[in-house]
Amino acid sequence: MSLDLGLGGIFKGLGNFIELLEEMTEEGKQEITRAGKFKGPGRTEAMYGFTVKIGPEGMPRVGRFGNVRETEMGAVVEEVREPMVDVFDEGNEVVVIAEIPGVQESAIRLEVKEDVLLLSADDKDRKYSKEVLLPCAVLADSVKSSYRNGILEIRLTKASTEGN
């Protein structure tokens, strides 16, 4: 019997949940994790899962993790976003502009390896990551950045300026 209200899905989920609790009780486990992965469009990867913990009073607590959320429009994958990036070759500098809204400036990490800039931001629930190939090698200790209204400007000094 199937109801068209998603109830079938919920009961099925509950059935599995009870089985899971039985398994935990039988095997004396305090914590159990189930996770899965699938490929989303583009280069995104969806990851989902949950952890069940048996609390001190024997009450199970369920925590969800991953980057898939349910909305009325269906499941939405909150990918580790690749920010929109522009790279400008400006005289003796390389300027990288990245749009990474919704994070604290302190959550932004920049790392330079010759001609590659690794940009990442990991705030509460917003994650960005991008490897940016630069037009030339830059000085690793020359990274200057400013963050305004979700737009990050990074200025890097070219490693060799003699070749103009």
């Binding site: 469009p41 959320r69 349910e70 909305t71 009325e72 429009m73 939405v76 994958v77 929109m84 522009d86 400008f88 400006e90 005289g91 003796n92 500098e93 300027v95 502009i97 749009e99 809204p101 919704g102 917003r126 400013s146 963050y147 305004r148 209204n149 979700g150 737009i151 990050l152 400007e153």
Partner: protein, 185 residues
């Protein structure tokens, strides 16, 4: 061409314009819906602005965008590259003149949006939180059309019915997004 060292805000006031007339040009296709305007970095500096700052664009109406540098081939001719949404919000067409000036956006406490086309599936509170995330960073003013690009290439346009505070409001993670069913003419 050598780039000049940057001066502090209180440094030499050389050739700083409060407002500037620019010619409106088409945005890059990757910029559509981002709420940005690209300008020659020299013009950005002349406005006393820096990358990411909010600038007011005045055509027959006023709207706000965040400013970003134009690519080399679009520099040197006082252009402002904005997409069709921003052009509509400023009531200005391609190749027409607009006035740009630096402005201060304030963090939006709340914005009220009204879906602009049929099929708007975003109704619940959960959806409005997700929507807030899609619009994050945008500078909006009352009467603007804004575009939320959903996962994939689908998008939904909204009319900004109200912003709190009024004026140029920036969508932040803490901005409360309300979806109004109010019909818009």
């Amino acid at each position: 061409m050598e780039s000049e060292p940057r001066k502090g805000a209180a440094g030499k006031a050389r050739d700083v314009a409060v407002a500037m007339s620019v010619r409106v040009a088409e945005a890059l296709s990757k910029d559509v819906g981002r709420g940005i305007g690209r300008m020659d970095p020299a013009d950005i500096e002349r406005l006393g602005a820096e990358v990411g700052d909010v600038i007011l664009v005045s055509g027959n109406k006023k709207t706000a965008v965040r400013v970003m540098p134009a690519y080399a081939e679009q520099r040197g001719s006082r252009l402002l590259q904005i997409d069709g949404i921003t052009r509509e919000n400023a009531q200005v067409g391609l190749d027409e003149k607009a006035i740009v000036e630096k402005t201060q956006g304030r963090a939006a406490q709340a914005i009220v949006l009204s879906p602009l086309a049929a099929g708007g599936g975003m109704r619940s509170e959960k959806d409005s939180r997700y929507l807030g995330r899609l619009l994050e960073g945008l500078a909006v003013t009352e009467g603007d059309r804004v575009r939320a690009t959903l996962f994939g290439s689908r998008f939904q346009d909204f009319l900004v019915v109200e912003t709190v505070p009024r004026g140029v409001a920036l969508v932040h993670p803490t901005t409360s997004i309300k979806i109004s069913e109010q019909k818009t003419a």
